[in-house]
Symmetry: C2
């Protein structure tokens, strides 16, 4: 009897063409399908909650797959992690209701965008930060980000080439924080020792029921212009109203974007369908 | 007139044979000397405060060099960072007294060792953590680490092949912390969402007036055995007393070790010599 699995996974997207299989280049989806197929002895297809672009990372991407293997989830997780390269890791696996689909069952997704504000990008985090040397007005960025909350037409923040029919989405929360991300990992830069004060992280976080193509990166490009005082914080309201992509800021680089979490409203245990 | 510079630098040591120039392979010292030599138009030698091994990282290594260039420090820093690969970054440059030597003038150095305690190593930090799936007794490790403080013969924690005449060093502080390192960078793993609870960092920090070859890594190997309850916390005292390397724990992997800071007692401004 085939069964449906929910996999939570993390990856460093630097080396990949993105989540989705492409005609050329290695994709994360492709490598996970290959690994599952090797274990199952037959082709396995997986669906991902977020189709992250080339260079975009994940701390909590979710995938669903229908498999024949009877391996218990912890054993399957160890087997998959033994096959996969170390820049892709399966964090958890659980058996779920057959109705579960990683993308269509998701109620919301949370993305973070990591900016390193400082004149030098620390080498150990260079794969996952956009470095900005200029001093950003983080309070203005945070105030502007909060204007995104609610049900709006996000057409101004959508890249061409998208296949969606509607650009209306609901943003549940949005904010920008320069304080929370300080930690012992950055001690040498956060202890006020002027000699090695080379910057600090600024984290943009957005949770929404869905995201348009390049939406977070277009929002971040716009927020940075607001943080630079090149654009008014009120700009967000008129961008949402007018919906013209040409008026929003540039698309921020892929490397700073991280899919951190996917939320599901309904329980996804195997017996959930009968409740 | 040649002048003496103090450079503070950070690097991801993954791709290098270590700080020191070797007959084969790329060293961090070698790349910095090449970059400075290109700017100076003549060979430049640099001295490093800590001779970090292959795979060991730095957040605050210090190097000294005598140069002819009259470029002001901020311009020289930009020029060096433009030449160097992105896994080596110059954080600050200042002109110092000609007596200054990065290694011999240092009063102490601080190393951290980053352990990821969890069954899966997060891809984005895989280059700089030793992953341990077993649950470690961090309080026991911290108590044991504190026994290292003071002036002792650290011969039990020294690898063969060292050229030092004495293995007596003074440890100013030592401790192990599982809490301080939690941060927004690890939010998905620290918010109590069981689904993605794949571990947390454990950071060992040691400040000493000097370190023997592989000393921090041998200490960490021993502390982990204590955290595993395979060895008593009192073991440190008898190891220090007996000085037998065969009795201490194994040498922890290089990838978790980070030179975070080098301290200098005396002012190192150009006029310090006349004060």
């Amino acid at each position: 009897m085939p069964r449906t699995l929910k996999l939570v996974l993390a990856y460093d997207g630097s080396a990949y063409v993105g989540w989705q299989r492409q005609t050329e280049g290695q994709s994360i989806q492709g490598l996970i399908e290959e690994a599952l197929s090797r274990i199952d002895g037959a082709p396995v297809r997986v669906a991902g909650a977020g189709r992250t672009d080339a260079g975009v990372h994940a701390l909590g991407q979710v995938a669903s797959a229908r498999v024949e293997t009877t391996l218990d989830p912890p054993t399957l997780k160890r087997a998959l992690n033994a096959i996969l390269p170390t820049d892709i890791r399966i964090l958890t696996i659980e058996q779920v209701d057959d109705q579960f689909h990683a993308r269509f069952s998701a109620s919301s997704k949370t993305y973070q965008y990591w900016i390193w504000q400082g004149d030098v990008l620390p080498p150990l985090i260079r794969a996952s930060c956009w470095q900005i040397a200029r001093r950003l007005d983080v309070a203005a960025m945070d105030a502007a980000a909060r204007r995104l909350v609610g049900r709006h037409d996000f057409g101004a923040f959508q890249s061409a080439g998208s296949d969606v029919t509607s650009s209306v989405r609901t943003v549940h929360s949005a904010g920008v924080d320069a304080g929370a991300a300080r930690s012992a990992w950055f001690t040498p830069w956060s202890e006020g020792d002027a000699e090695v004060d080379c910057g600090h992280p600024v984290v943009v976080q957005i949770e929404a029921d869905g995201f348009l193509r390049h939406m977070v990166r277009a929002v971040v490009g716009t927020l940075v212009e607001i943080g630079d005082h090149r654009r008014d914080a009120d700009a967000i309201a008129s961008l949402l109203e007018r919906g013209d992509r040409g008026e929003a800021g540039p698309t921020a680089p892929a490397r700073g974007l991280v899919l951190v979490r996917v939320q599901y409203r309904r329980p996804v245990a195997p017996d959930a369908g009968s409740r």
